[in-house]
Amino acid sequence: MVVEVTRPGKTSLLLSTPVMPAAGTVGFGDNYRRLVDYEKLGAIITNPVTIERWHPASGTRLAPLPGGILVHTGLPNPGLKSVIQQNRQVWEKLPIPVVLHLAGTSAPHMKRAGELIDGLDVIAGIELGLNDDIDEDEAFALVSAATAIEKPLLVRLPFYEACHLAPAALDAGADALVVSAAPRGTARDEHTGRLVSGRIYGPLVKPLVLRIVGRLRRQVPEEIPIIGAGGIHSPQDARDYIEAGAVAVQVDTATWAQPKMLERIARDLGGWIATRRKDALMDEWHPDMGQTEAAQRRNLG
């Protein structure tokens, strides 16, 4: 299976499975290597990276919600240069493409990113995250600047403004749209008693983003690939995105709640799915077992 997740013409990004983790969920490298079989994934999307070092948000970073969570980390990262230095070797050993998620801060920053990234073969593509408060002109300018980076360019749209910003991102040269970033929301922190804001994750996000993907699929030209992202918690959720018009999907916090679900979804959409026979022995593979565990069981057995 080969899935092309960028529009034809420019440098293209090809994945062997249309399933990847969303930025911010699996770290910069191979943190999940003991829990998830990376070979089954289409790509790794790194945590968001900025040009300068960003410190973690202070105060509440996590608020449990009924059927979900609110997360606000402040995108801590040591800056692009350090991220590359620290992770390059790990990336080179990964069996799948690495897509660097760049937080879209400013056009000069995009230029600087190009200087750091161009020539780095281990980075297979860029996912540019657009801020929620950006308007159409700003989005156009930022994406235009990012196209100078000589890599396939995915643009991740904010939730509320996805339909408004998509045309600007495409006009500016985005090779694919990631729809969408997790919606921002506000909730009460049970510890401090204060209202806090952050991104909202949980299964109920899926029907909302699924509709946006369907609308955008009808709105933008057919050759623009859309990658669906939001509230995917099961293989069926992922398949729903494909039916609504996405060529690939990103799994977000379901990975935290149940790491093997990421692999399970990848196996399902990647055509690797195997269902355990009713009378299967313990050492046979089970969709939720994970390749690593299965391999161990085989070795033990």
Binding site: R34, R53, G68, V71, T73, P76, H191, T255, W256
Partner: protein, 262 residues
């Protein structure tokens, strides 16, 4: 900044509840039949637990994230014991998914004679696993309960532990002596207001003891860990040596090196 960290023992394994024992008015202990890989856990390490339903499917997304459980005892290569509130009902035979082991074991000094445990606004559960080993090595252990920790019924803890209850101002009897005499101090606070609670305790200690040496007083963090593998950065702390993650570098950190202002 930090790398992914060492997770070479971390696994997601199934466990089931073998036995349930009520140990006090408010707490019960679950004996969990676990994968052998968890039997080598040491005091300070934890697992993330989640109930699973048939065919590994999660049907109820509330709570969304796993619970952080520090075992209180490793019975044998198959059974670990956790202590949880009696108010939550469990049944023997229930299936769990356990992610772990998480974090680094507590580091004890070579010649440890006197250990002080300070437990503030949280049950002392996360510190209990160290007790048998300390007692077996003839260390003497004092546990000071502060704030809501005073409500914890210690009847089922080993008799050798000296239990003290702090006053409302957090002071306790013979405080200066206890602090001077301790070779190592572990401070456990609840996840609510943790940094400011650690800061309270440090203020208390600094008032009583001019020199607070390195590797003397450790804060033990119990934040909810979304990923536990150093990916999400929700559990990040700031220290003199840069950013640290509870799930990778913790749960215990030298309190003299942490930035406790919020």
């Amino acid at each position: 900044m930090l790398q992914g960290g060492q997770f070479d023992n971390m696994k997601d394994t199934q466990a089931y509840i073998e036995r349930i024992r009520r140990v006090s008015r408010d707490y019960q202990r679950l004996e969990l039949a676990v994968d052998k890989s968890l039997s080598s856990m040491l005091a300070g390490q934890a697992v993330l637990a989640r109930r699973i339903e048939k065919d590994y499917e999660i049907q109820h997304w509330n709570p969304y994230l796993r619970e952080l459980w520090f075992p209180v005892e490793i019975l044998n290569s198959n059974i670990i014991v956790v202590e949880v509130p009696a108010a939550t009902s469990y049944q023997p035979g229930q299936l769990l998914s356990l992610l772990g082991p998480i974090g680094k074991p507590f580091k004890f000094r070579r010649k440890l004679r006197n250990v002080l445990l300070i437990v503030y606004d949280t049950p002392p559960t996360s510190l209990l696993m160290m007790l048998p080993a300390l007692l077996a090595n003839d260390a003497s252990v004092t546990m000071v309960l502060m704030g809501t920790a005073c409500q914890y019924d210690t009847g089922h803890l080993p008799e050798e532990i000296e239990i003290l209850h702090a006053e409302e101002d957090l002071s306790w009897q013979d405080m200066v002596m206890t602090l001077g005499w301790a070779d190592q101090v572990f401070v456990l606070v609840g996840p609510s207001k943790e940094l400011s609670n650690f800061a309270d305790v440090m203020r208390l200690v600094r008032e009583r003891r001019n020199d607070v040496p390195a590797n003397y007083i450790f804060g033990v963090f119990q934040r909810q860990l979304p990923c536990a593998v150093g990916a999400c950065y929700v559990c990040m702390l700031r220290s003199n040596a840069g950013a640290k993650l509870q799930c990778v570098d913790g749960p215990a950190f030298d309190l003299t090196t942490l930035h406790l202002e919020n």
